[in-house]
Amino acid sequence: MKHEVRRRLLYGGPHRPFYAVKRNSSLGKRRRRGGVKSRSFEKRGQHPGTRGRQAEARFATRLVRAPAMLKCGMGGSQVKVFGKAIQALSRVSDELWLDPSEKGLALRSVNSCRSAYGCVLFSPVFFQQYQWSTSVKMNDNDTISNLNCKLGMKSILPIFKCLNSLERNVESCKIFTRSDKCKVVIQFFCRHGIKRTHNVCFQESQPLQVIFEKSTCSNTLMIQPRVLAEAIVLFTSSQEEVTLAVTPFNVCIKSSNEESMDLTSSVHSEMFVGPDEFDFFQIGVDTEITFCFKELKGMLIFSEATHAPISIHFDFPGKPMALSIDDMLLEANFILATLADEPSRASSPQSLCLSQKRKRSDLIRSNSKAGKNVTSKALEHISRKAAPKRLCPNETLTDISALENCGSPPLKRVSGDVGEVPASSVRRAEEVLASPCLRKFSCMFFGAVSSDQHFSHPFDSLATASDSEEDVNYGSFSTF
């Protein structure tokens, strides 16, 4: 130890303690989630001169780490697009994940009933400056973990509130994280030399991402947002659900009425759009899907900012649908659950889901045996009962507790620790859920975001023990 210290003294000249720089003693209070261990500094608040270095040196063999960080900057016009993305995601849920990766900065949001998921991925080209890093922990086990940053929508939405005035006044914007304080700092450099700084605390939480293969959908439509916006005007804000009915000859967007609603009091509206209004029109199967209106509005808000056409990918009722915008600079995906009104049809996607889950759990078990720390890949499958009046039932929790009452364990998300979901219990859950008199929403495929690049195509490496032929199609998923 002493040798190390002396070496440090010689390097860079005689020792001069930097008293001006006060080391924050709260560094030691780092959260311990996700298996990330923290350094404990001397709590005297001194700069680690000799003393600090000694303490550090003591732990040198165990903990040398750089925290995960994000640092990006954008110009005034990009702030508006960024703000619109946040506004659109606020329609999905109250929580927002900031997830930097080499593909760019992803903003993710999942609603509490898991029936809607939004992700906007800004490529590095979108920003004037983009730097990110994972936290690297040199340890017995190498762990690479991303910046797991979850923000409350209530904290971040007001910052990007008046986008028009932001567009006019803000010249540039910098966003960076301070992992030591669990804060995201957003700085607006405005005209007249005004600088506005917002510090938003974040929670460490692994974001979820949806695994959904857009190209396997039999129906794809691409339409200018203006047309959809005109359709939206038809419906009142009290309209919860909207039905999209397609045939090879036309597309109909209409208000969807629940059976329990008072039909004699509500207006039923529909709009027929001909195929030539779409930029791309491919209908493989005539179908009618019903989904939540709120999230569609959210997507439209965002599309106004990008002027790019919206692609809609969908299949049969029950299977999730995707609304996406693909631009050079960004990619937005909103995956929405659709109403499945026939229990028999709904059960088949469920079974697909569950078999994936089984495979996933196999993978997790086998990897843990191999000693690898699969911290972040997991599949979560929740299939819900739709309450008669609403798209989102009051609580997913009630469904889970119902499952518990039925004797099967709840399906849980695998977080930092390796979880095991026994295959048999999963199957039991499926049987419980497939009761015929309920209208169900299709499940969403979920996986936690992984920084572990080895597992980009997990299913390819599995030996197939599939129950149905369709499993083969799900061999390679694209993750959003």
Binding site: T264, V267, G274
Partner: protein, 280 residues
Amino acid sequence: MKFRAKIVDAACLNHFTRVSNMIAKLAKTCTLRISPDKLNFILSDKLASGGVSMWCELEQENFFSEFQMEGISAANNEIYLELTSENLSRALKTAQNARALKIKLTNKHYPCLTVSIELLSVSSSSRIVTHDIPVKVIPRRLWKDLQEPTVPDSDVSIYLPVLKTMKSVVEKMKNISNHLIIEANLNGELNLKIETELVCVTTHFKDLGNPPLASENASQARNPEQMAEVHIDIRKLLQFLAGQQANPTKAVCNIVNNKIVHFDLLHEDVSLQYFIPALS
């Protein structure tokens, strides 16, 4: 019972939309009376609206290029429908740049007024929007309550000031008290008064002019300076004023002392009559 009508002219469509917006602001639920030459929007539910009644009349020829109707029977060639006025105005809102608008009475599980709009679109194909507005057919025996109200013999008849000004005055007065006194005389003076324990506020409108009186006797008998007044609920007056978006072609206020105030407006070719009774 049958009803089919079509509007193709953009100006007529906008006018009809404005009328339905006005009705939506004045009454939540109203009755639509369809007769061979007229359309009426009627509010006559004394209990529900607190005594306020409304009669709006428009000549169908001025709006519709095609108009066909068949009433309940040959003798009673009229249709009375009850609907939520906001539904109609919202449906018409989507008809901003429509090529054509069709309204018809349909029965899809329950009676509906189907508004079908053909929208112009950039590409060659036109877009069709349909709204099914649920309505209730009012039976023959209830028709007697929905007839045109008789215009009472008023004590004073006066032209109203600019409605926007009147509305902003009444809006501010609403914060002070719910009880408003409206009074006018044959000298072209109209006053709006609020009286509370702490404060009295009066707004005077002068030089308004009075419409020519029907009978000579009444004009001689009455002192032109004498005010006729009615105590009304300010919220009802405010609701009436809020519904007027444009300044009417003609606006007359008739006051029956301590009984009722009657507003008679003419918006281009649509006549609107609104009755507010005195507070008991």
